[in-house]
Symmetry: C2
Subunit: 254 residues, 2 copies
């Protein structure tokens, strides 16, 4: 596993160098997918291709579940699967040139083994899993303090908040406030580093896979909004929270 | 003016060192003000006292308008006035230990002369005014691109967004999306560095004074939500936006 970890870290740092170089060139090609604000750029595609090429050079039999280039469906999770999001937070990448992440998860025979979330412009890498623990760069992370809902900040998707789905505005009223960064990876890092105690959003498997494996190792609860397991098959409403805050949210929405 | 600028920069960097040292000591004393989530800490007060001491050592006649310690009212703006927010984004300071700012504005005989916004943990200082221009650290900033509303991200206060005041949800629907950082200073820096084209929030004079003087130099429109001038006397709903986005917002809310 150490060899795999060090390979993946290398791919991520190489991918990050490509992204930073493309930012300098300043000739992004931007297209839309499902909606006017669902963006993809030539760099998303370039990075996904780069990661897949590296994965298959390392393990020709590995399967891929990834956001771009038609790799977004996978039904057979036997063997080794890499779940990848080449640029999570493409809108931020385009307009902010920061607050976007590279995310990779490794699943082996349906067991979630490793997660990697790299905040490219902050140069912060969260990585780990159930066997090795969770690290921020070289520093091992402990579980963050299990604050009550009343003491916590909550990251949330703007649409869920605005529509008051599942009475989630009441949850925000009981909390210390809501934050919206536009990037799942940034929010997942904020959870692991103790800056938020809950994150609620509408996420695809490549948005939550890397975070879930690390968060669970750190004692977080990660479920869909009904409290059931995430299915890795389609976009779902996801709650990730420390145990006390998770219970308070569950009590309020059910 | 160069002497004043270099003095203020020194105070800000010294205040920042005090804050970072207090974060290390990890014994914050937290109290509430107007509401459960309106926080003030011993460090906010310590930094405001520090800044006022430096200001009065430099200019004993200077007047102060500041968030803490009962300095939050000023009616006579003759002479030189310093408008200060020792820690803008106290909630973030307490829970995130990042995304908070020190802000100082200088007004002379009712003319806004200088603004300073320092993102403490990112170590980025925006400073300047109508006579000297606007700088990010040592780099002179040009006016950011005047994107249309449809191409822009918008920073917004969660309460204004949720209540759909002035149909602002429609504005967000026409834009590229909404972001909420919990810190006016962070959002004002995001405007000046081209990461957002609009920011709409409910702000006190010490929240907007430093940003307003720099934003106007960069061609932004900064008004209250009715399109009138900011009064420096009380909390107001503020719009700050590039001209094209400002016009689109005005058309929508009036």
């Amino acid at each position: 596993m150490q060899i795999l970890i060090s390979e993946i870290k290398n791919w991520i740092y190489q991918a990050s160098a490509i992204i930073k170089n493309e930012i300098k060139k300043n000739d992004l090609v931007i297209a839309t997918k499902a909606s006017r604000t669902d963006l993809v750029t030539n760099v998303d595609k370039m990075i996904q291709d780069f990661l897949i090429e590296r994965i298959h050079r390392f393990d020709p039999a590995a399967k891929i579940l990834g956001e771009e280039n038609g790799q977004d469906k996978l039904t057979d999770f036997s063997g080794r699967v890499f779940v990848i999001d080449p640029i999570d937070g493409t809108m931020n990448f385009v307009l902010e040139k920061e607050n976007f992440c590279i995310m990779i998860a490794v699943i082996e025979d349906n067991e979630e083994k490793l997660g990697f979330i790299y905040d490219v412009m902050k140069d912060v890498l969260l990585w780990g899993g159930p066997e090795v623990g969770v690290f921020k760069d070289e520093e091992r992370l402990d579980s963050p303090e299990d604050l009550s809902l009343e003491e916590s900040l909550i990251g949330m998707n703007s649409s869920i908040y605005r529509k008051n789905l599942y009475h989630l505005q009441d949850i925000v009223d009981r909390s210390m406030g809501v934050r919206m960064s536009g990037c799942a990876g940034v929010e997942l890092i904020n959870l692991m580093t103790g800056k938020r105690n809950a994150y609620i959003s509408n996420l695809a498997p490549w948005d939550y896979a890397a975070g879930k494996v690390m968060l669970e190792k750190l004692g977080f609860k990660v479920t869909n909004i009904e409290g059931g397991p995430l299915k890795f098959s389609h976009r779902e409403r996801v709650i990730a929270a420390t145990p006390a805050t998770f219970s308070a949210i569950e009590d309020c929405i059910r």
